[in-house]
Symmetry: D3
Subunit: 129 residues, 6 copies
Amino acid sequence: MDDARYRIGLATARNLDPEAPERLEAALKEVAPDLYRHIVEFAFGDILSRPGLDPKTREIATVSALAALGNAQPQLRFHLNAALNLGCTRAELAEILMQMAVYAGVPAALNALYLAKEVFAERDAKGLS
Amino acid sequence: MDDARYRIGLATARNLDPEAPERLEAALKEVAPDLYRHIVEFAFGDILSRPGLDPKTREIATVSALAALGNAQPQLRFHLNAALNLGCTRAELAEILMQMAVYAGVPAALNALYLAKEVFAERDAKGLS
Amino acid sequence: MDDARYRIGLATARNLDPEAPERLEAALKEVAPDLYRHIVEFAFGDILSRPGLDPKTREIATVSALAALGNAQPQLRFHLNAALNLGCTRAELAEILMQMAVYAGVPAALNALYLAKEVFAERDAKGLS
Amino acid sequence: MDDARYRIGLATARNLDPEAPERLEAALKEVAPDLYRHIVEFAFGDILSRPGLDPKTREIATVSALAALGNAQPQLRFHLNAALNLGCTRAELAEILMQMAVYAGVPAALNALYLAKEVFAERDAKGLS
Amino acid sequence: MDDARYRIGLATARNLDPEAPERLEAALKEVAPDLYRHIVEFAFGDILSRPGLDPKTREIATVSALAALGNAQPQLRFHLNAALNLGCTRAELAEILMQMAVYAGVPAALNALYLAKEVFAERDAKGLS
Amino acid sequence: MDDARYRIGLATARNLDPEAPERLEAALKEVAPDLYRHIVEFAFGDILSRPGLDPKTREIATVSALAALGNAQPQLRFHLNAALNLGCTRAELAEILMQMAVYAGVPAALNALYLAKEVFAERDAKGLS
């Protein structure tokens, strides 16, 4: 059994968003249930939990990559929230997304910032920072 | 005249790599000389010099984005060097690139790591960290 | 006249989805009517009808490519349906999309699987396999 | 102060769409207000206002690039309108988008043409060419 | 037989580069010989030969799209040459590529300009404009 | 310990290319040694070894995705070889790559076919099918 990786992955995912594992499991249950476990174990357990970089810096790298890719809006939404949950400020996230205008083009930066605006408004409505 | 932005951009670029402005100017001289000035003023002067994020964190975001895009090898090479010049460690950069296996796929991570290996070897040959 | 290519393309397209040609023709009628004919003749007639690969394998290759590209949702929706119409199982399609987590990243796989879930539900509502 | 670049950028942007600057400023006000000014000054002021290419040709290049990228729908919508405002015909834009079937694939061309159809219908409703 | 489309495609391709068809045929002969004919007939014959846009404008759209995509260097090289053969100036091509800094990011623009520099040098060596 | 996943992954990777694990381990040893193990365990062990799809079909999906992405040449080279090692024919691979002209554009198809030509020549030199 591979319970250690799963438990570490679960804790890492919950640190980003306490409901993340349950939501992912429900989303994949009907279509690819095993992928839920592989994502928790590999993405969160093997990679994101590594001690070589602090979780906040990892989220900055992820937000930047997803904004540059430009076709991963649900995941960018998740990681903008995760970054804020870990203590990144909205201003820091806006800086990263603005910077993508240089490296991925103005449209990539604008579309990521429009999504960030939605995320910030949703958090305002929930009283979250 | 727009000298303030140019001077700030020049200082920001030189902080990443002291020879960067001269190399970029030479590379663009024959084909698009004005773009040199626009990059120094906009990319380095307007964006990368903003105080809202420290330069090392900005380089982490850039390295991550360029690795995810996967078709910007010369710029990834430049920013891997810049990140090291600013005090990022090789281990930190390897962490970011490994993380791209999750968000941009294993090929994107591998190709970025193979480039990092070349950069690290070049720096070894020059006695750089 | 180029009727042979058109007739072959029409038959190939209808094999994927009996209503595909009419729907494509209607969608392009106002904006680029000639493109309808070029797509039937080139994409379906010249390429997809070639005997060197069976139609089901061609659909697997297409679903995989569209999921990896990540910005062709209407076409991925069409080809998930086409693959099922040709006898691919839902489980086989889920396997291909899961595999994209390795090659195009976890977000590409997840977004394709979320779309597959919608397609499967629509087919359930119509009593299709 | 950098007012010359801003004024030139403002005029260039308004030539594409008289309301563009105000709309962009409003969209970015809460999340990244400085980016509004950088886009007006750099994108519109430094680059799009350059005399080396006429504005209509610049829009053709932009429409083509955004259609090929495939993940910049809001910007493609803006530039389809801008191209029409500058005197491009709908037929010319449809030609460019059809051509993307060759260079970026049939899905990229189709999705851009479906967006163009929406833009054309919106302009019909406003009595615009 | 489909000779009309092939002859039109051949003429269109030769207008861009007199040796293009023979070079493409040779390149594909061993690996995918039929694709040569499909590209001549569809890309050059059906699409690029359409009267709705002049050949020079078509090349501008293609150069822009290929620079934005960033992973089609051999084709960008071909179309930079084709655009120059049709009467575009080097300065016009540089303008288009610079503009990609706005829409696809500074790395995409730089890498396309570095390739253009090579193309221009090769043409200098052959005494071509 | 996670030896079961590693052993399954190792066997799956060796089935594609007997020397793959050793080559990957050596390539990553200096720069990201843990990633070697994660790739064997996750990519080969968790995903590619799943019984829901036969290995040859998995390679067809991978070759198609990598050709569509267009910026993963080393991995496309590996998987073209792997597909041939598993019994795919060169003609089948050429069919898949030609098909990418429809979904990812003619440049993506051409560049993948040029790489396939190199792979086929290397295999000829080694007396491989």
